[in-house]
């Protein structure tokens, strides 16, 4: 009897979860797709066309830049913690605790920090660079913790096999351990990517809301210090102004599609990488 109730609860939970997800996606698609007009994809934003194209490009730039900063740092830190540091050392415990705490901090706090440090103190202004650095700090613990878990899950015997053949630590880690941990690491990177793409609060403080593609052609590297708005921020602005709700839904559709494409791409890349190793 109790088993039956438990089983029913499990089904109800699963169905509710699926329904909520389907409901949200369906609602966005129904409200958004009819408003996907060609004018939304013009290269320049005006208050008439409220084009989402600059925001789309900015989103990709912002997410890539943040990940370029956060992934090597996070993966490197995780490798150090798991493979080099003594697991009992105080330093390791402090780093782990810090990472866990940072993971639980609301993003607006990161935004406030970014505003005070990157935007004001370093004088980078509201810019792609300030925003990306803030996002990088925000997702660093995510990348670090998932990579750590992935490394810990690799069988000890791979490492022993490497050492027993006279391979040094670096070669053993990079050739025997990391390839097996790769799917887990990619999972962490995807999680980080999702947070970058969906972030609004932290970026309002650090990247601003200027709807333009940074002018790398004209300014070169200094375009990194242009203000820009990502799709999520674009949506927020459109919706909060209240004048362009339809376009906000259309933007949400594009954002959804972007996330699906990025996830599929990353999974595909991980499979290819794993087979190649």
């Amino acid at each position: 009897m109790t088993l039956k109730i438990l089983r029913a609860l499990v089904y109800v939970g699963a169905i509710l979860t699926a329904l909520v997800l389907a409901g949200i996606v369906g609602y966005i698609l129904i409200n958004g797709i009819p408003h996907l007009k060609p004018s939304l994809f013009e290269w320049t934003y005006t208050s008439e066309n409220v084009s989402l194209m600059p925001a789309l490009v900015d989103t990709i730039l912002m997410a890539l830049l943040a990940l370029v900063l956060a992934v090597p740092t996070g993966v490197g830190a995780a490798i150090y913690l798991v493979e080099y540091a003594r697991s009992t050392s105080r330093f390791v415990r402090v780093v782990r605790m810090t990472a866990e705490t940072l993971q639980g901090i609301p993003s607006i706090i990161y935004g406030l920090f970014g505003l005070l440090f990157f935007t004001t103190m370093l004088g980078w202004g509201l810019s792609l660079m300030s925003g990306a650095c803030t996002l990088a700090i925000m997702v660093l613990p995510v990348v670090m913790r998932t990579t750590e878990e992935a490394l810990l899950a690799v069988p000890e015997s791979y490492k022993q096999g490497g050492f027993a053949l006279g391979a040094g630590r670096v070669r053993t880690i990079f050739r025997c351990v990391l390839p097996s941990a790769l799917p887990g690491i990619v999972g962490g990177v995807l999680l980080a990517l999702g947070r970058c793409v969906g972030e609004v609060a932290a970026l309002l403080f650090t990247a601003g809301t200027v709807a333009q593609i940074p002018d790398f052609g004209g300014q070169g590297i200094f375009a990194l210090f242009d203000s820009c708005r990502t799709l999520a921020v674009h949506m927020y602005v459109l919706a909060s102004e209240g004048l362009h709700m339809d376009e906000a839904y259309a933007t949400a559709v594009v954002l959804l599609i972007l996330v699906v494409i990025l996830n599929t791409g990353a999974n595909f890349a991980a499979k290819r990488l794993k087979r190649g190793m």
Partner: protein
């Protein structure tokens, strides 16, 4: 001259010296933190012979094996006192650890092929030690796989993942991988205990053949295996080496009553 004196000093009282010593341990104490896993062990491993280390679980035989190629270094809190030598050189002081592990290869209890192709598994060791040429690697891979009697089974699937092989094949692959760096000594840590009887028999045949080229030191739980394969045997109990000698002699006329009890199956 120095070398000779050193050699003389290292002759263990318990093993009659017939052939040249390849590896030796002298007054070896080994600690895991507070726990002493090996107590004052002195033992010589003669060149080109198979020495078996036997004893009940937790007697220190695997610990001794791991002390011979410094795999114990990976264990936090492990401390070694005493001399372990390879060709008369102190391996904890005079031999770089990666050289040591190339010269003293190891095969583990569980087969542990890397998650890569069969070819890359075998080539991993040679590549580590600087051999990059494709032609040269091809020769090493084929020869190693032949020496481990698995070439015919895998020659058509060298580029396939090693994880697709059966347990027995994986273990022979691991032996081939160890052979590919041209070791002088092979350590086998209960390397057949996870395998079926047919795979075990194949590996035992290999080990007997290896004695002509390598010095083999094997830990085994299986006394019949020690009898079948080894020429020397050392019996361990609670971290002490109780008795060592010719395998036949140790099994038929053990000098110590504890050895007699163990080899006759009264405990262990």
């Amino acid at each position: 001259m120095m070398q000779e004196i050193k050699q003389d000093a290292r002759i263990a009282p318990s093993l009659p010296v017939i052939s040249e010593t390849k590896m030796g341990v002298e007054e070896l104490d080994l600690f895991y933190g507070e726990f002493q896993a090996l107590k004052d062990v002195t033992l010589d491993f003669p060149k080109n012979e198979v020495t078996a280390l036997i004893g009940p679980s937790g007697c220190g035989k695997s610990t001794l094996l791991k002390a011979l190629n410094r795999m114990n270094d990976l264990v936090d809190g492990c401390r070694v006192d005493g001399l372990v030598s390879l060709d008369g050189d102190d391996i904890y002081r005079d031999v770089p650890v990666n050289d040591l592990r190339r010269r003293v290869g190891m095969v583990f209890q569980q087969p542990n092929p890397f998650p890569m192709s069969i070819y890359d598994n075998i080539a991993f060791g040679p590549r580590t030690h600087g051999i990059k040429g494709k032609a040269e690697l091809d020769v090493i891979v084929e020869q190693s796989l032949r020496d481990a009697a698995i070439w015919d089974e895998v020659k058509d699937r060298l580029k396939k993942s090693a994880l697709g092989l059966s347990g027995g094949q994986q273990q022979r692959l691991c032996i081939a991988r160890a052979l590919a760096v041209q070791p002088e000594v092979l350590l086998l840590d209960e390397s057949t205990s996870a395998l079926d009887p047919i795979s075990t028999a194949k590996i035992e045949d290999l080990v007997v053949e290896f004695a002509s080229k390598y010095t083999v030191i094997m830990v085994t739980h299986n006394m019949l295996q020690a009898l079948r394969v080894s020429t020397k045997t050392a019996f361990f109990l609670l971290g002490e080496m109780v008795e060592a000698g010719d395998t036949d002699e140790l099994f038929t006329h053990p000098k110590d009553s504890r050895t007699a009890d163990y080899v006759s199956g009264r405990f262990g």
